[in-house]
Amino acid sequence: MQQGWDTPWAGRGILHVDMDAFFASVEQLDHPEWRGRPVIVGGDRASRGVVSTCSYEARAFGVRSAMPSSQAARLCPQAVWVSPRFGRYAELSGAVREILARYTPDVEPTSIDEAYLDVTPGASGPHPVSLAEAIQREVDELSLSCSIGVATSKTVAKIASDHDKPHGITVVEPGREREFLAPLGVRALPGIGASTAARLAQSHIRTIGQLATLDHATAFRLIGSWGPDLVDRARGIDPRPVLVERGVKSISHEHTFSTDVRERSEVEDALRSLVARVAARLRKKDLVARTFTVKLRYADFSTPTVRRTVEMPTDLDEEMFPVALELLRSAWSPGTGLRLLGFGASGFADSGVQLDLFSACGPDDDVRSRRAALARGVDAVRARFGAGAVKRGAEMMDRREDPGPHSE
């Protein structure tokens, strides 16, 4: 796939920069005596910890991320074993982001060690491959290592960055996406997990190339509402933009129902879950919002939105949900078929909360502060153990697939 980069780049240019064994590399950077040795960053071997990251030296022994620590210890007893130091990793992650920001303002960090960059050259901009090489050199100077995928979309760039690890640059030239993806196993496609892969295997679909031959209706039947999107991505089609979070104006989530729904309880449950997602993202970004919007799409594809602005900005589910519910009830009556429901927050205020005199004995006695503390605690648990780790009672009934986030 590696091609000379003297041919001009047609269309979008997306880089996916993925740090190689990031946590372990930081440990080897800070402890030069560990370089060249297997290093495992993770939880306690004696208890039920898991491997967070391991150096490539440790991977040679079969150690992998997310493996139980006890198993890793058996595979590689001589490894240097350290507990994670997230503060230090965040610091170096920031240093890497500074490098990326020098090349383009359009950087979308997706985790502490990964980011997408939009480096679409246009008529005369620098070639994306030259930028990838320059970025990799600068990261090398931090004594860290990254792999970069260069492609025309996020999906392909992400798969490409994983193609030649560590310290690789994989270029998928415009027009060659299908050719690059076709031989890969379906699991390589972001979003396909073990269960989806198993379902596809029953229909004898094992490679991305096979998945790309499905029509949308079949994909929908096999995988559900997300199927058509996956098939598009298998064909190298992924129009998602690089989302730059700087100056976000609104945060919203929407959910497309697989069949039109009419039941009040089902719609309100969906709304509750959308509100929870929006609230969590507001908290993550330290934003509070005053304007809330509910978006509906009826069976005839008419798509009205209703919105309301409240006096006190908030980032709490409990305060947003009643507003959302009121908006929903003003625009929709049970019995009318609904294809899509969305909830958005905008009108961000300086993150400030008016305190209340009668709960001022200590800010922690305040109902609102307690709710805020609870919300942040739940966010932290979910960040660590996954979105499903903690649920509200009302969400227990709720088994929906993850709707994608939207920011504008």
Binding site: E311, P313, G347, D350, S351, Q354, L355, D356, L357, A360
Partner: protein, 365 residues
């Protein structure tokens, strides 16, 4: 029924009574005023069932009687008339209002349907100087809550004790206490009066030098001039505000009130959508810095010279609440006392404790 009265006197009485008109259209009779004429005077009543107002004036009564007229309409008619004698007469088709060459006939309603004026027999009645009462209401009423979910906070706590009048109001974000000395009140009482009613009284009563205030089990009654103003009392106990008042402070600043209010108003221009104003007190440099910023709009900053003592501190307040407190603290120099960025700040006169405006800060994320 027929009477004649000077236009100004009639208009004054109608204007007072119109504060009692209901805006609800479901009970048309509550949009009416009951006008009764007997001997040498007329009385006018209006009620929205929360408050009831009875007022009146001298009149040349030709024949006694009662009639209910549409309140706002008749008030507007009388306001538009030239300064002359106005005659109101009951006719088969309604009430005729004539003045000079102008005449109106308005449809009237049956007096029998009009609610009976509440029969209030106050256990105590005190007498207060009206201007003092009105000033105190003006100072505390900004802090009255508009949130009907906590009814007791939509009222003003009024306490008369021997020679002092005290009012307290809070919307749970700020709390305002004002105490003044009054002479010859003639008794003691305590009641929570609906904010709207007490504000109306404070404006309507100003033409009389003194006013009476009495309470019964369920009602509060105000009397001034020819007027009796009855409001329901708000049930429930008013929060114990004394325990909210901080016992001391970490930082105290004495500052010129008018300079501060002007600065707060300027900086507030950049505190849009409820963004707070940050108040930074640096005692060593004798400076108070106000800043405000709103995402996508801009920012403002102003330094003020001030006498400050204690630790440097930065605390953020809702700009409107801050401006309210400073604008009603009527002394040339005011003190601002703060304990911590999460504890209530106090605005009071540089000297004395007879005015306290307690304001909860905004916690900045």
């Amino acid at each position: 029924m027929k009477f004649t009265v000077a236009r100004t006197e009639l208009l004054d009485a109608l204007s007072i009574a119109s504060k009692g008109l209901s805006s609800r259209t479901t009970l048309p009779i509550l949009g009416g005023m009951l006008v009764s004429a007997e001997q040498d005077s007329i009385t006018i009543q209006a009620t929205d069932l929360e408050i009831s107002i009875r007022t009146g004036c001298k009149a040349n009564v030709e024949s006694a009687g009662k009639i209910v007229v549409p309140g706002r309409l008749v008030t507007d008619i009388v306001r538009s008339l030239p300064e002359a004698a106005v005659t109101i007469e009951q006719q088969p088709t309604g009430a005729a209002v004539t003045c000079g060459q102008s005449s109106f006939v308005v449809r009237s309603l049956t007096p029998d349907d009009f609610p009976k004026f509440p029969d209030v027999t106050p256990s105590v009645m005190v007498s207060l100087p009206t201007d003092v009462f009105s000033n105190v209401v003006h100072q505390v009423s900004k802090a009255v809550s508009r949130d009907e979910t906590r009814p007791v906070l939509t009222g003003v706590l009024v306490v008369v004790e021997q020679d002092s009048l005290k009012m307290v109001a809070t919307d749970s974000y700020r709390l305002c206490v004002r105490e003044v000395s009054v002479e010859g009140s003639g008794g003691s009482l305590e009641a929570v009066v609906p904010g709207r009613a007490i504000e109306d009284v404070s404006r309507l009563a100003l033409s009389s030098e003194r006013m009476g205030l009495g309470v019964s089990e369920n009602q509060v009654v105000f009397t001034f001039g020819e007027t009796t103003f009855v409001s329901r009392r708000i049930e429930g106990s008013f929060p114990n505000y004394r325990q909210l008042l901080p016992q001391g402070y970490e930082t105290r600043v004495i500052i010129d009130r008018l300079e501060l209010i002007d600065a707060v108003k300027r900086v507030s221009l950049m505190a849009v959508h409820n963004s707070p104003i940050r108040v930074k007190i640096t005692p060593d440099e004798r400076v108070v810095t106000l800043t405000a910023q709103t995402q996508d709009i801009g920012e403002a900053r102003e330094d003020l010279e001030a006498d400050a003592a204690g630790s440097p501190i930065e605390i953020a307040f809702n700009h409107a609440y801050l401006a309210d407190g400073i604008s009603v603290a009527d002394s040339d120099k005011i003190a601002i006392e703060v304990v911590s960025p999460l504890k209530p700040g106090v605005i009071k006169p540089a000297e004395g404790d007879d005015f306290i405006y307690l304001l909860m800060p905004v916690r900045i994320g």
